[in-house]
């Protein structure tokens, strides 16, 4: 079996990122939009680790550590916002959220 190069990881990461971006653009359920954002972050993380391995440098892994931390904070705040929106509008369909004031 032949060895895999960095190019394969770039392509795989791009495909995962595009699927996440399509989820953000197309789905109406706000929770699934959030899941798609998580997938985009994960695609970026995968590429960070792949380049860390490729270049023999540990800094990429440290950066992924920070990205995971920020993503955890972002999910907590985002889901709290979704719960708050659901309380006022009784729906999390993002096509119905067209007012700044509830």
């Amino acid at each position: 079996m032949s060895e895999i190069t960095i190019n394969s990881y770039v392509i795989l990461s791009t495909i995962l990122f595009v699927i996440g971006a399509l989820g953000v653009l197309l789905r109406r359920n706000a929770i699934i939009v959030f899941m798609s954002i998580e997938m985009m972050l994960n695609a970026a993380n995968l590429l960070f680790v792949a380049f860390s391995r490729h270049l023999g440098n540990l800094d990429g892994q440290v950066l992924v550590f920070f990205v995971i931390t920020v993503a955890a904070a972002e999910v907590a705040v985002g889901l709290a916002l979704i719960v708050a929106i659901f309380r006022t509008k009784k729906s999390i369909d993002i096509d119905t959220l067209n007012l700044m004031k509830g």
Partner: protein
């Protein structure tokens, strides 16, 4: 950077679970597909000489974050919405076209690059080495992330607390 058979198998599972998340009608199914995707990426981390990050990926992402998602889905009872996609089908076609264009652009860039660079040798990436690197060069970002987590926690409590007593979800 890994055996090509292992890579292809994992890549098929990762892309398949990502597409499953995108097209599932039920939000719970989407969440479970996303757990599968996260675990596949954790296996990629093991292949790529990052065992500590693989463990963090499983515990933090596939564990904590997805439990939070499942909890909110079931709390709100918002598994299914009436319409799954946006109102205009032209949006779907246009977004899919743009995504396809991005992948093709990367492919063209990689083909024009031509040469495949040789990877560096395996380095020590044990938790000890990672921790030393973190505290040698990244002490200030580490502190900033701590403050960020604290402020996020305070913000979440303020957002979800009910200002009228006795009136909850």
């Amino acid at each position: 950077m890994g055996n090509s058979f292992v890579f292809m198998l994992l890549a098929v599972i990762a892309v398949g679970s990502a597409i499953g998340m995108l097209v599932s009608r039920d939000a719970v199914h989407s969440a479970l597909f996303l757990v599968l995707n996260f675990i596949t990426i954790a296996v990629f981390y093991v292949v790529l000489n990052a065992p500590f990050l693989a463990m963090v990926q499983v515990t933090v992402y596939a564990g904590a974050i997805m439990v939070l998602f499942m909890f909110v889905i079931m709390l709100l009872g918002a598994e299914r919405l009436r319409g799954m996609w946006g109102d205009r089908p032209s949006e779907l076609v246009f977004a899919a076209f743009l995504g396809f264009l991005l992948v093709v652009t990367f492919l063209i860039a990689l083909v024009m690059e031509g040469k495949t660079a040789v990877s560096a040798n395996m380095i020590d990436s044990s938790p000890v080495a990672l921790g030393l690197r973190l505290f040698e060069g990244y002490v200030f970002p580490f502190e900033v992330v701590g403050i960020l987590l604290l402020s996020a926690m305070v913000g979440v409590v303020i957002l979800t607390i009910s200002n009228k007593r006795g009136k909850n979800v």
